[in-house]
Amino acid sequence: MIQVFRRDVVLSIRSGGGFGLALIFFLIVVVLVPFALGPDQSLLAKIGPGLLWLGALLACLLSLDRIFGMDYEDGTLDLLATSPLPLEGVYLAKSAAHWLTTGLPIALAAPVLGVLLNLNFYVSGVLCLSLLLGTPTLSLIGSFGATLTLGVKRGGLLLSLLVLPLYIPTLIFGALAVHAAALGHTFEGPLIFISAISLGAIAILPFFSAAALRINLS
Amino acid sequence: MPELGKYATEVASAYGVTFLLLVIVSIFYWQKSRIFKRRLLAVEMRKDA
């Protein structure tokens, strides 16, 4: 399992997709927004949190079909299926690798980019925390969607369509936490909800995804 | 026709949209049913012949 994880991380870094792609996309979104909406500081501070969350979500979507796509095409996935590692483990390892190469860098970069959107230090901290807790869910749900659309040619759009409704609860609570912090309210409630969704996703989705993988490989 | 008062457009368009959608979906199901019924019948005839 650790080997699958390591292999995926190394592959995505070497192929130049993983780390760079999501992060650069995130950067582009954040940099372009002030140009689109005008440089009004108070407006940027108001919409900043939600915007950073939206950017993170879209950046996550961008690399989803790579999680299983290549391995499915060149037969690696068939090999993995016959290995002693259960498919639930393959799914978890691949989701973790995806998170490490997209979710984690985005969560760490968000406070830095938050400065551009006039977020103060405190709000940026909460933003970073909420992204750290929330992006694992995005990766988990995303790889679940990827297992569903494995056999589909050009499944990228379909994948986004399937995954978007599932992302909504995480997005709501994530943005809610940061907004609450920006307004000076308590933000623990939404954060607890995000963590609950993440834990629930870790508990349930491996079984559904492994089932979908088995169906696709049969 | 009942007196719809100042909301006549709203009520009429709500009923209009609903009927339109219901008719479209019904025709969709009906057409699909007819096509497959005919195709299946043709294949069954060939099989029996």
Binding site: V152, I172, I204 | A14, T18, K47
Partner: protein, 256 residues
């Protein structure tokens, strides 16, 4: 016949419907009657509601939209529920008819969602002053609409029928979990404009929330929408069963 043996008989004959041949015979027999009842209930309910009910004191004549909005919303949710149940039966018992019924329910469920959204928007403009608000109920319905589109798109995208049935069933189950989650998430996110549930059977009896002048035609059109849904479901499932058989026969022809 005692009640127990009656229930037992019902379930044994219910499961027999999983046999495509028995299903086709049974549905073919009942379909004309279901269609006839649909026409009667729907036309009576809507004509009664449209022509012979008074205007509401506050809402004026827009109250007449309720005879379309509430039944379609009800069937939109029931449609998704039916997809989940059909998928579950398919995954557990591997009976084709149940998953084909789930597939057949999707387009009409999607249409019902669209009707509920459209009539709600038309009603919202004069009453709330806007076509659309990001209110929990409205948002949930928009999410429901997205689910329907995704479900149908996945069916379309996968060539192999059994594989498509399996994968869409998995999607429907996970979707159901997240549908409940979204429902509660949007409640936190925005306290809405939408009024609480207006119609329950108990209200109709107690006449607290809604007066019986409006309730009786509403009930009738709810039954009408339900029957229409059922009729289209039967037609659709029959089509899917036929399509399945057609595919088998054509493959057989090619092989010989």
């Amino acid at each position: 016949m005692s009640i127990q043996s009656g229930i037992k008989y019902f379930w044994s004959s219910f499961w027999q419907l999983a046999n495509p041949k028995i299903f086709m015979g049974w549905s073919g027999l009942w379909l004309p009657w279901v269609i006839a009842c649909t026409v009667i209930c729907l036309s009576t309910g809507l004509i009664w509601g449209f022509f012979f009910t008074p205007d509401d004191v506050r809402q004026g004549s827009t109250v007449k939209i309720i005879y379309l909005h509430v039944p379609s919303a009800l069937m939109a949710i029931n449609g998704y529920f039916l997809i989940v149940v059909g998928s579950l039966f398919w995954l557990i018992r591997r009976q084709h008819v149940s998953v084909l019924a789930a597939k057949a329910a999707a387009p009409v469920g999607m249409t019902m969602t669209l009707i509920a959204l459209a009539t709600g928007a038309i009603w919202g403009q004069p009453m709330w002053g806007t076509y659309w608000v990001w209110d929990p109920r409205l948002t949930s319905f928009l999410i429901l609409f997205l689910f329907y589109i995704g479900y149908l798109a996945l069916w379309k995208a996968i060539e192999d029928e059994d594989k498509a049935a399996d994968l869409t069933s998995v999607l429907a189950l996970v979707g159901a979990v997240f549908a409940v989650l979204s429902r509660y998430a949007v409640l936190f996110w925005n306290q809405g404009l939408h009024q609480g549930t207006t119609v329950t059977i108990a209200d109709g009896v107690n006449q607290e929330n809604i007066s019986s002048v409006f309730f009786q035609p509403l009930l009738l059109s709810m039954v009408g929408f339900g029957l229409l849904f059922f009729a289209l479901l039967l037609v659709g499932t029959r089509t899917e069963v036929r399509a399945r058989r057609l595919k088998v026969l054509e493959a057989f022809e090619r092989a010989h």
